[in-house]
Assembly symmetry: C2
Homo-oligomer: 448 residues x 2
């Protein structure tokens, strides 16, 4: 195993069973051997990674480890800047857009000792959830040949699911971290809007986007979060991080979970309904308080359409000029979506903003009545590349983006023993510490 499990890998580094250089070589060798087929990576920096790994190993020898991320190979979605590599946003047009500086969060990971391997495949322009990319290839789901890893952070989910690295960064606009985490059997964190600086991120929707880690388990998410969270003068949203956030309560005792009427809210695959019902039974049997909760006015289909229109209009405001001169550097499908938002009537776009804001307050109000809201991550499991993507993939995930609230997705076993399903907890703003603790407890109960 190269990077199969974050905690095991950290333990192996600490005990000297392995080294950062060894892990990096194994990962690079796997990329070299597999990437033509798996299409998980878009680019990588072998020399930079090996140098960073050697530096980490030297720190370890000197007893000057920087923390749990020191020496851990990490890979980054290709809409987040890594110095020395291009940031393609999964398009052809930005193929040679070389970046000289790291995004804030990448710099933070480096400062914590992480070894940045390279950039990960993604759905074109972060607008879609299959990662069947016309420029960078059809990204493979490591759990099922020919299947989608989800998206838009498909490479980020696949790299963790494949065990190439134990930790990646993705971005989540309506579910783009949590859906690939779900489809690839990994964990994903979508933080409170403003916890991680967006400086160095190519935004799709500045209203809905957050950067988020995908990892093999909660320890990886927590380590990445602690490294990346913090005020950045270049992103004023981070000025709202509460002063006591770092000391956030992480108790998962006497938790009240609110469960929306998910079966009615979106049409779920039978395997998801079965697995999730079994999961809820286990929670109840273990004495957890599981109670119905309603997010007033939440119609997931309507919310998805509003979020999509917002993403298309905001994305269009950012890259419209490039789209006009981009030729075949963008696919026709992507161009059509963005052009739709660019040209949409102002009154419709304004109504979409209102729909989003109304739901934000309604979700935050519902979160005052429970400790967390529990939902399936997606209404379906991974599906075969080439089959039509279900329209409702993001119906359960987008609500956290709309609310600006954190969410943690974690895998659950499927009743049929096939591809995993996934559940997510959504918590009040800035509740990441508690939410991770809750997810960890629920995960253990789900396996039990």
């Amino acid at each position: 195993m190269s990077g199969g499990d974050f905690s095991a890998l950290v333990a192996d580094l600490e005990s000297g069973k392995t080294s950062a250089s060894a892990l990096t070589d194994i990962a690079l060798n796997r990329i070299a051997a597999e990437n033509d087929r798996s299409r998980i990576f878009i680019s990588f920096d072998a020399d930079g990674a090996r140098a960073a790994a050697r530096a980490s190993d030297a720190r370890r020898l000197a007893g000057q480890m920087l923390g749990p991320l020191d020496g851990v190979p990490v890979a980054i979605k290709d809409n987040i800047d890594v110095a020395g590599l291009p940031t393609t946003d999964g398009t052809g047009f930005y193929r040679d857009r070389s970046r000289s500086a790291d995004a804030f969060v990448v710099a933070r990971l480096r400062a914590a000792g992480a070894v940045i391997l390279g950039k990960l495949n993604m759905h074109e322009g972060a607008l879609g959830a299959t990662t069947d990319n016309p420029f960078w290839g059809r990204c493979e789901n490591p759990l099922a040949e020919g299947y989608t890893p989800g998206g838009s952070s498909g490479g980020s989910g696949a790299a963790v699911g494949a065990g190439i690295v134990p930790l990646t960064l993705g971005t989540d606009t309506m579910g783009s971290v949590r859906i690939p985490a779900a489809y690839c059997g990994a964990w994903g964190l979508k933080p409170t809007r403003g916890l991680f600086s967006s400086h160095g991120l190519s935004h799709l929707s500045w209203t809905l986007d957050t950067i988020g880690p995908i990892a093999t388990g909660p320890d990886g998410l927590r380590a990445a979060m602690m490294a990346m969270a913090g005020a950045d003068p270049a992103d004023l949203l981070t000025s709202e991080i509460p002063a006591d956030w770092q000391r956030g309560a992480s108790s998962a005792d006497s938790v009240t979970l609110g469960v929306p009427d998910y079966g009615t809210l979106a049409t779920c695959e039978p395997s998801v309904l079965e697995g999730y019902a079994a999961f809820l039974d286990k929670l109840r049997q273990s004495g957890m308080t599981v109670t119905p909760v309603e997010i007033a006015g939440w119609d997931p289909g309507k919310a998805r359409r509003a979020g999509l229109l917002l993403s298309e209009a905001e994305g269009g405001a950012l890259i419209g000029a490039d789209l006009d001169r981009g030729g075949d550097g963008f696919s026709d499908g992507f161009r059509k979506l963005i052009d739709y938002g660019r040209a949409a009537r102002g009154e419709r776009v304004a109504s979409a903003y209102r729909e989003i804001e109304t739901l934000r307050y309604a979700t935050q109000a519902a979160l005052r009545t429970v400790d967390a809201i529990l939902l399936p991550t997606a209404p379906q499991r991974a599906f075969a590349h080439g089959t039509p993507a279900p329209a409702n993939q993001a119906d359960f995930t987008a609500i956290a983006n709309i609310a600006g609230c954190p969410a943690v997705a974690f895998p659950l076993p499927a009743a049929d023993g096939g591809l995993p399903i996934s559940a997510q907890v959504v918590g009040p703003r800035w509740s990441e510490h508690r939410l991770l603790a809750i997810a960890e407890r629920l995960f253990a109960l789900g396996r039990g």
Copy 2:
């Protein structure tokens, strides 16, 4: 004097020098005698007001006064619902739109004993700042014949300035409470977004609008604020009111005032520049800390255009269908503005939202470095009806709407002894108590 000064009137009611019924009759008589000329009121409810006044007088006799508002005549801008009267929004189209229930804030004022006299003239559709209304007449500035009272809450400023009532409600989207307060020599409060429920308000821009009181002084604003503030399940924005807001600190000691470079930010009338410079000198001489402050990226003209586009698009989303069938119930000028926002390209509207949100964070960041930001309320004094309205009327006020922050406008003497000028303090969200105390102290220094 009927309702000339709020505190004096409350004292006279308490001492028995006058009664609610007497005050109500005087006000109604003035409306009957003057309104054909002054066009301050659109409608009034003489019977209802007299009955409410009698009930207040009975409470007083029984020693069961409800508080400082009990028996005080109050009038309401005609885009806020009052049971039994139409809500015209200052248009012809909604002339007969009778309302059976009070807006939340009106019900709160009634519950505090206020005598609701009637509905006040306003700029058509709240979109403009002269209150030269094509359907309800050219509202007169009580301080200068033939002059505008400002707007859009022109009737709300004029009714207080004229001494017809000591307290009115207006609404403030980019300055629509504070500009008429300034032009009419009154005080105006634009609260934190979410402090007063908007239930029963005809929104122009749900993003920027707040209801706000205009009064003869800070006591009137405070009494109205304490009566109106509070959670309303029908407006989830009010669910964010901090639990300890009612006990907010009201000390105005050791205040640091941040003064933006107002002379460069907008072209001000000489009388405003002179009066304001003299005011700042007085503050410095009194030992106050007055320091430059910058709101990063604030270009008032650009912010105004973004706020206007947002208002037109959001207003269009709300009343577009009525506009299409409204015939001459709307003026051509109003129709043109709203239709512009309705049809604006989605990418432009999205960019306007981003401009607003970026400035929101920048303003809140600046407010972390000082206790309050001090600015002229408007770059000019009231001007003659019929002369072109300056484009920059709202350049100093809109920033508080953009930031969602509270602001208090108060009058300052003009150097030439003519029409008053006005200053405003803008504070952090939920700082109304302290902001009113600061404004009161600055007002006293400004007169000294």
